[in-house]
């Protein structure tokens, strides 16, 4: 982008500055640290100049929004056309309570739903299973059967609202329930819009909510991709997630690289199934975290889009530009929020959310300031939503596309992150792929090391966390209302579920479970039979039970 003579001139200027002006200042005021590093341990330079981006070629590396390589955004108008979707992850108690929270959020201006399920649901156990004791409705909403899903979505028009479901192991069952509710509402399947997280690979090394071993899990993931490609054209069958990788302790580069690698594994699996890349790739979606280092995060989002576009074009020979676009949802980083001086979290969330908007996301969840204390209260959720609305309407950050493009620092950082991520991708390729890397504990070890390093730096005050290891307040007297889930929720949910099990047509349930067993053994796509099963009010635990018999259960590889 720059003529060589100009770069030489700048270089000479910099060298002169480093010999004259800079040392004078350094004598009086040395720098705060001997070196500055970001979360990914990359050295942050004192100042960036055109020298740092002398190899940047505008049309090759940046281009225009809505066009390859999508560095500047996936849509031609970005937020000038439509703001990102403000989607707050919510769920607690029984289906009825969460249904009320959804209606509240929609009334307050939320534009899409996002369901948090409780631990028994996520791990494929019914609410009345012994493992579920004390966990029902605590960390999310309990959904054990279609009955619960009907209550959860009561009065919500599925042709108008899109829904994201954070569900992985039992993604097929919850998607089947959603489809069944849509059928009951009379919504044509081609109009159902939403996302199932359905990213099992990261479960083995990041979120760690696994039911089956990696190979059958990958089969189920691919079943959903195949089914959606053929029958649910507006559904995102998968949300390839870096969020949990980051929250488990990775740095930004690892988050970027491991997420993209999981993406590569899913594309390969779908191709092996016989799908054509341009038939399914446009609906693959991604999910990242937004941590505290403002520019590092912005660069990560931009690098992610460019790298994915190249992978799809060069590695998988996609032809349709939409196969190369990376659409992403972002959540501000829960692990950066502190229990100490919790109101400070509003500021952290604001910085992280602003980085996300400047990074060009399609959808955003902002965390509530009471995140480190409990599930969000209504007040805290409202502030989180308002944070997005303030950025959208008051800051001006959404009014021009990719406003930080061309910044010497941001462009140099974007390029460096892309290169570092590519090194990891090469390494995993050499190991034989994602499943092999999981089985060797490679991702697990990388994450555990980064997480321990971060903690040590915090302990040693190399990293200042305001209110935690510095700027502490002696007496903390912020009165924060804490959301509590009534223990009666569990009791009532168990009673309701047992009543359902008595009153449904149990002959039909038995038949459909036998058919499920048979279909799973034959290795066919399980989505159609799972839809039949949920429609007969077969429970989540019963369906997962049959599959556990066939596939076995995953045993955790313990790495500390």
């Amino acid at each position: 982008m720059f003529e060589k003579e100009k770069i030489d001139e700048i270089m000479k200027g910099r060298e002169r500055w480093e010999k004259t002006t800079l040392p004078k200042w350094m004598e009086q005021r040395s720098e705060r640290k001997s070196e500055f590093r970001n979360h990914s341990d990359m050295l942050t330079k004192r100042i960036c100049t055109p020298e740092d981006i002398k190899d940047l070629e505008y049309m090759r590396d940046l281009g225009f929004p809505g066009e390859y390589p999508f560095t500047r955004g996936v849509h031609a108008t970005m937020f000038r056309g439509r703001l990102w979707t403000m989607r707050l992850f919510s769920g607690y108690g029984a289906a009825e309570q969460t249904n009320q929270r959804f209606k509240y959020l929609l009334k307050e201006g939320e534009t899409g739903l996002s369901i948090a399920f409780d631990y028994p649901t996520i791990t494929g156990y019914d609410s009345d299973h012994p493992f579920a004791r004390g966990e029902v409705g605590i960390c999310g909403v309990a959904v054990a059967s279609l009955k619960d899903m009907e209550t959860l979505l009561d009065g919500i028009p599925l042709d108008k609202v899109t829904t994201s479901m954070t569900i992985n192991g039992p993604a097929a069952m919850l998607l089947a329930m959603y489809v069944a509710v849509g059928d009951k509402q009379g919504v044509p399947r081609e109009k159902l819009g939403g996302t199932t997280q359905n990213d099992m690979l990261k479960e083995y090394f990041a979120q760690k909510l696994c039911i089956f071993p990696p190979k059958p899990s990958l089969k189920l993931v691919t079943d959903i991709i195949e089914y959606c490609t053929r029958h649910l054209p507006k559904w995102n069958p998968i949300s390839i997630s870096g969020y949990h990788i980051r929250e488990a302790g990775s740095n930004a580069v690892q988050e970027l690289a491991f997420t993209l690698y999981d993406g590569i594994a899913y594309v390969e699996s779908a191709l092996e199934r016989g799908l054509k890349v341009d038939d399914f790739a446009p609906r693959l979606s991604f999910f990242f975290a937004s941590h505290n280092n403002f520019f590092e995060e912005i660069a990560k989002f931009r690098a992610a889009r460019r790298l994915w576009a190249k992978i799809m074009k060069e590695r998988f020979h996609a032809k349709n530009p939409r196969s190369m676009w990376m659409r992403m949802h972002v959540q501000t980083s829960g692990c950066t929020l502190t229990a100490q001086q919790p109101l400070n979290n509003i500021i952290r969330v604001t910085i992280q959310a602003l980085a996300t908007v400047l990074g060009g996301t399609q959808s955003l969840h902002t965390n509530s300031f009471d995140e480190a204390l409990a599930l969000p209260s209504e007040q805290a959720v409202r502030v989180a939503l308002r944070t997005q609305q303030i950025i959208a309407h008051e800051s001006g950050a959404a009014d021009t596309i990719d406003p930080l493009a061309g910044s010497y620092y941001v462009e140099a950082l974007t390029k460096e992150m892309e290169e570092l991520a590519m090194e990891y991708i090469q390494k995993v390729d050499d190991m034989g792929g994602a499943i092999e890397a999981i089985e060797k504990g490679f991702f697990q070890k990388e994450i555990a090391d980064s997480s321990y390093k971060y903690q040590r730096e915090t302990d040693e005050k190399k990293r200042i966390i305001v209110g935690v290891n510095d700027y502490k307040t002696r007496e903390e007297t912020y009165p924060i209302p804490i959301l509590r889930v009534d223990p009666k929720v569990e009791e009532e949910q168990v009673t309701r579920l047992q009543k359902l099990k008595r009153e449904r047509d149990n002959r039909k349930v038995k038949e459909v479970l036998e058919k499920l067993h048979y279909t799973a053994e034959k290795d066919e796509n399980l989505m159609p039979i799972i839809i039949d099963a949920v429609k007969a009010y077969t429970t989540l635990g019963e369906i997962c039970g049959v599959l556990r018999e066939i596939y076995g259960e995953y045993k955790e590889l313990i790495i500390i």
Binding site: T123, E135, G249, Q340, A374, Q455
Partner: protein, 135 residues
């Protein structure tokens, strides 16, 4: 002559909660501080935790839970320890545990609760100072 035995700690994850970042960091910090540390892995029932404690002959247990299920699970673990005669076990806990639940948890015999933002050094010091003396 009896040589000083190393402190043996079991770091355990009760319930279905899968947030293991804190548990792993604490396990590693205690190990680096010279203790013998056994980490259970995820999704342990109270029975499994107590059984492991017995098998591994530990004198300290650290429980980590971030899901909110501590109210149901901690009392069961403590009751089982008592039943098995492991009354001199030192038990501490950490995770997302609301302030107002702490008195009740301490009444169960859990010696200390460490919330988010705790320095690993604080936990190490606490374990050294409170480990039951073996005879």
């Amino acid at each position: 002559m009896q040589s000083e035995r190393k402190i043996r700690v079991l770091i355990a994850k009760p319930g279905l909660d899968s947030h293991d970042r804190g548990a792993k960091v604490v396990a590693r910090a205690l190990r680096d501080a010279g203790m013998e540390v056994i980490y259970t892995g995820l999704r342990q029932t109270p029975e499994q935790i107590v059984e492991t404690a017995l098998q591994e002959d530990v004198n300290v247990i650290g429980l980590s839970i971030l899901s909110g299920a501590h109210k149901a699970l901690f009392p069961r673990i403590m009751a089982l320890l008592k039943k098995k005669g492991l009354t001199d076990m030192m038990v501490f806990a950490g995770g997302i545990i609301p302030e107002e639940d702490i008195p009740e948890i301490k009444k169960l015999g859990i010696k200390e609760i460490f919330g988010p933002g705790t320095r690993t050094k604080t936990i190490i010091r606490f374990v050294f100072e409170n480990v039951p003396k073996r005879t």
